[in-house]
């Protein structure tokens, strides 16, 4: 290899984490294959998703090359801007499908809640880093408030899925930052105690989803339809599945949202238990790699950030598959790296970019 090419390659791959990239690419490949079936062999859709993936990989590369201390500086301003945008949404957002999620900036429309998926763990990690030496109970309270403000605004939109993901990300930061077990238990008790209140502020359709989870059969053609049909799809796949492009539930249009949130039903129907377990293993490999990076991260900020990103990815995967297989209520969370759609893909890959940055810049710092 020509030395210049080698140098260029070296430059390009300097901050890229090989194992993580490998599993991510494998998952993306699976995603394209399933999407081809889920979209009834729609090449346009598959190529659009391929374009999304390339953009997401580009974003990943860019963030892999941004040293973590830049992020540390950006964290709090980003959080403040995000919260302000959320307030803007609440006051003047556009309503799409009954939910107020979009903010029209004149030039473009943005969904600030998407930004908060990364801004909240960043800000919390920044906060703990700042108070690393003197951590006490008060800091956890402040951090919790920092978490609750955006979550409350997002729940109001309403966007239960995103709120759930951000809560999870924030909680993971608190947990990894050493939130005492007693407080975790306390939060758990408080959470349970808050359930009746949460119930009372929920929208009807959200309540319905929870009731439906408890007994999908009560409304098989209404709210329970999605869960029943996706459960049938998963179960009818059996050990080895019905084969690619052969899922009857998929191709006869019984699976709702089958290219996006319910794409796992397509996958499980066509590839069976074996395929589902393979997918679980791939997700587990991503998480393991993320956990290793987390464990080896040099500073509290990077540790907390890496852990939160990794565990948020896990939350995506677990909640989505749990919902499709009928053990969790239906919330709008896509299957990471598999579901059709650019936004989630980009924000997930952005997270992986940060992970890679943390992994690679650690070495540089140490040397």
């Amino acid at each position: 290899m020509h030395p210049a090419v080698r140098r260029l390659t070296g430059y390009l791959t300097r901050h890229v984490d090989g194992p993580l990239l490998g599993v991510v690419l494998a998952l993306m490949a699976v995603g394209l294959i399933v999407l081809f079936s889920a979209s009834n062999a729609n090449f346009a859709r598959v190529s659009a998703q391929l374009a999304n993936m390339l953009i997401a990989l580009g974003v990943m590369w860019v963030f892999a090359n941004i040293p973590p201390h830049y992020l540390l500086r950006l964290a709090f301003p980003l959080y403040v801007v995000g919260v302000l945008l959320l307030v803007g949404v609440a006051l003047a957002g556009d309503v799409v499908h009954g939910a107020r999620r979009w903010l029209d900036l004149g030039v473009t429309r943005i969904q600030p809640s998407e930004l908060m998926k990364i801004a909240v763990p960043l800000a919390l990690a920044w906060y703990f880093e700042r108070h690393e030496a003197t951590l006490r109970l008060g800091n956890y309270v402040v951090a919790t408030v920092m978490l609750v403000i955006p979550v409350a605004l997002i729940v109001r939109q309403p966007d239960l899925g995103t709120a759930l993901l951000i809560t999870a990300a924030g909680f993971f930061v608190l947990f990894l930052a050493g939130l005492s077990w007693r407080l975790i238990a306390g939060l758990g008790v408080a959470g349970i105690a808050a359930l009746p209140f949460a119930w009372s502020v929920m929208h009807d359709y959200q309540r319905q989803r929870i009731l439906t989870l408890l007994d999908p059969a009560q409304d098989p053609l209404g709210a329970g339809y999605h869960t029943i049909q996706s459960t049938i799809a998963v179960g009818s796949g059996g050990w080895f599945g019905k084969g690619w492009m052969n899922g009857s539930q998929t191709h006869l249009d019984f699976i709702p949202e089958r290219a996006t949130d319910f794409i796992f039903a397509v996958y499980a129907e066509e590839f069976g238990l074996i395929g589902s377990l393979v997918l679980l293993v791939l997700f587990l490999l991503v998480i393991s790699r993320g956990m290793l990076i987390t464990a080896g991260a040099p500073t509290l900020f990077t540790r907390l950030l890496a852990g939160a990103i990794t565990l948020t990815f896990f939350t995506y995967a677990f909640v989505n598959m749990g919902m499709v297989s009928g053990v969790l209520p239906v919330v709008g969370i896509p299957l990471p790296l598999i579901s059709y759609g650019g936004t989630a893909l980009v924000s997930i890959c952005l997270g992986f970019g940060i992970l890679m940055s943390i992994a690679s810049h650690k070495k540089l710092v140490q040397t």
Binding site: G178, V234, G235, S236, W239, M291, T294, S325
Partner: protein
């Protein structure tokens, strides 16, 4: 930072401890991840292995839908192949009312795309009430190609509305056969219960229509056919994607009738705008050649469910077009009863042909005077003359001599007062009076005086025109009585196998040929020199007939019946029975013209036209309006 340098060991230990704590947390989180993924894996195993079979079945059930394939209903043709009922394919716009909240608004919106008239709306409303919202109901039938295209473009706006190609029943002859072929209509709940009870409901899956009246009803099980089954793969919207297997339906059998459509038309038109009935029978088989009830109605109105306006018009019309007069109307036979009385007298030895009575113009029974229609009487009257000139006095006396039970016994053989067993349902029984009947009906003894007017076909006598036709056919056939039947044979359209409705002799009456010949000669005399002579003048065949006039209201003794003073619907009914040719009868018929006065004037000409056409192929000239004729002659 200066503190760090003061006690670097503590700082380092703290950092180590922190890192240790942190890694412990990471390990706990990883364990948490593993546990939850293991739970997911367990869930997958539960669904994909343990519940696999059950969910597989559900997926198949989702996928496969059993769709009934409705067979083509058999067609009905006359003896010459003229189509009386057939099917045509057309597109209907149908609404599934089940999931629709605001039907009115939906229909209003539909009306902007496809024309929906007030009649369509009324009919839909009626269907909706009857169906209780199950299944899909037509809001418009017979869509034009343009309307189909316009709806197809707007289809997305109307969930629950679809266009279906359906076979429709059509009766090309319109009102001509309304009472004999009958019509189909949408199946109602009572019929569903009935089908369930007979175990036929499965064969009616997908079928919306069933025979309601006439042959459509009585031959329903032949006409309907066997429903086929299609296993189709459907998508979540219930749309068929492809057919997996198919058991084709078996079309219903065709009916080929004894009826002659042209004869029917001649007979129907011969009534002009008079109400009445005519039944013509082939004496040697019992086959029904014409079966008319006037007025008729357009049976096509009933096929998709009649709209309330048409229904009210038909139902409340004073002419009662829905009444099948030939089958369900009962009338006194009037003087058409006399030939049978004469035959009874001969058979029971109460009279000889030559025996005469003296007719003073009335018959006195215990101080009660029964008038002859001819004031002053005809002097000496023998049997021949009694029939030819229709003497009342002769039959007053005869009835008195025979007694009611002998009359009832004899007349019963001819089928008076009993269902003939014809192959359409709804036949009335009529009344053949007897002592036993009166006791049953009124819990009263029979009075001998009541027998007198029975002799001239009045009193309690009440028979259907069909019974009158069957009786005269039996007489024409020398006492061999066939069950009247309209269908000649049932044809399997695949195998072309024909199942004939066999002429079934009901009974052979115990009559002496010499007695029959006396009466039959007298009947010929009626049309040659008697009450029927004017109507049959110049006929190129020898016919036998008997006029009759049936009183609608009783005329009190001493009062005179003046037709022009009586309200139209209370005027006498005109009757005529006939057969021809006299020596070898090919057709026997009974005509009833309601409220038309003397049988000779109103009913006999109808019979003449029918016989002329049947025997000579003579098509009558356009009919003059009977009422105009009345007015002209009444002046």
């Amino acid at each position: 930072m200066p503190e760090l340098s003061i006690n670097p060991g503590v700082e380092l230990r703290n950092a180590e401890l922190e890192l240790h704590h942190f890694r412990l947390r990471v390990a706990i989180a990883s364990g948490f991840v593993l546990v939850l993924f293991a739970l997911l894996a367990a869930r997958f195993f539960y669904l994909q292995v343990i519940r696999h079979e059950q969910l597989q079945t559900l997926a198949e059930a989702n996928r496969i839908s059993i769709v009934p394939v409705v067979p083509n209903r058999g067609i009905i043709v006359d003896r010459n192949g003229v189509v009386l009922a057939h099917n045509y394919s057309a597109y209907t716009l149908e609404i599934q009312p089940g999931g629709i909240e605001d039907l009115e608004r939906l229909i209003d919106e539909l009306a902007t795309v496809v024309e929906i008239g007030p009649r369509d709306r009324r009919r839909f409303k009626r269907l909706l009430e009857e169906s209780k919202g199950i299944g899909s109901l037509p809001i418009r039938t017979r869509l034009s190609d343009e309307e189909i295209a316009r709806f197809a473009v707007n289809r997305y706006r109307f969930p629950g509305v679809e266009i279906n190609a359906r076979l429709f029943r059509q009766y090309p002859q319109g009102e001509l056969f309304s009472h004999v072929v009958g019509h189909i209509g949408r199946i109602n709940q009572r019929e569903v219960d009935q089908l369930e009870a007979e175990g036929l409901i499965a064969n009616y899956r997908g079928t919306d229509y069933i025979g309601k009246t006439g042959l459509e009803q009585s031959y329903e099980r032949f006409l309907h056919g066997t429903t086929g089954v299609e296993e189709v793969e459907v998508d979540s919207g219930g749309r068929a994607v492809r057919t997996l297997s198919r058991t084709p339906p078996v079309s219903g059998n065709n009916l080929v009738l004894k009826l002659d459509a042209r004869l029917q038309e001649v007979a129907y038109n011969a009534f002009g705008d008079r109400r009445g009935a005519l039944v013509a029978i082939e004496p040697s088989t019992g086959g029904v050649l014409a079966f008319v009830s006037q007025p008729g109605f357009d049976p096509n109105l009933f096929v998709d469910g009649i709209d309330p306006q048409n229904w009210n018009e038909l139902n409340s019309s004073p002419d009662r077009p829905l009444l099948n007069r030939a089958l369900s109307g009962t009338y006194p036979p009037g003087s058409t009863f006399k030939p049978y009385m004469a035959l009874a007298a001969l058979t029971y030895g109460k009279r000889t042909p030559q025996q005469t009575i003296n007719d003073p113009g009335y018959f006195n029974f215990g101080g009660h005077v029964f008038h002859d229609s001819r004031p002053g009487g005809q002097g000496l009257v023998d049997m021949y003359k009694s029939i030819v000139t229709s003497s009342d006095t002769y039959y007053y006396m005869l009835a008195n001599d025979m007694g009611i039970d002998a009359i009832a016994k004899f007349m019963g053989q001819f089928g008076f007062g009993a269902r003939t067993g014809i192959d359409v349902t709804g036949e009335a029984v009529g009344v053949l009076p007897s002592q036993e009947w009166k006791m049953r009906r009124f819990k009263q003894k029979w009075f001998a005086g009541e027998t007198i007017s029975i002799g001239i076909g009045q009193g309690y006598n009440a028979y259907t025109p069909l019974q009158l036709a069957a009786a005269i056919a039996t007489l024409a056939n020398d006492g061999v009585m066939f069950r009247p039947h309209i269908v000649d044979y049932v044809e399997d359209i695949r195998t072309r196998e024909r199942n004939a409705v066999e002429p079934r002799p009901l009974r052979t009456l115990d009559l002496k040929p010499e007695h029959l010949s006396v009466v039959k000669q007298a009947l010929v005399g009626v049309n040659k020199e008697g009450t029927g002579a004017r109507a049959f003048s110049g006929a190129r065949y020898v016919s036998a007939g008997k006029t009759g006039t049936a009183q609608v209201i009783g005329v009190k003794p001493g009062e005179k019946y003046v037709e022009s003073r009586v309200q139209e619907h209370l005027r006498d009914h005109a009757l005529f029975i006939a057969y021809a040719p006299a020596d070898e009868p090919r057709i026997a018929l009974a005509v009833l013209v309601e409220n038309a006065g003397f049988g000779a004037r109103a009913a006999a000409p109808v019979a003449r036209k029918v016989l002329d056409f049947y025997l000579l192929g003579k098509v009558p000239e356009p009919v003059k309006r009977a009422k105009e004729e009345d007015d002209a002659s009444g002046g």
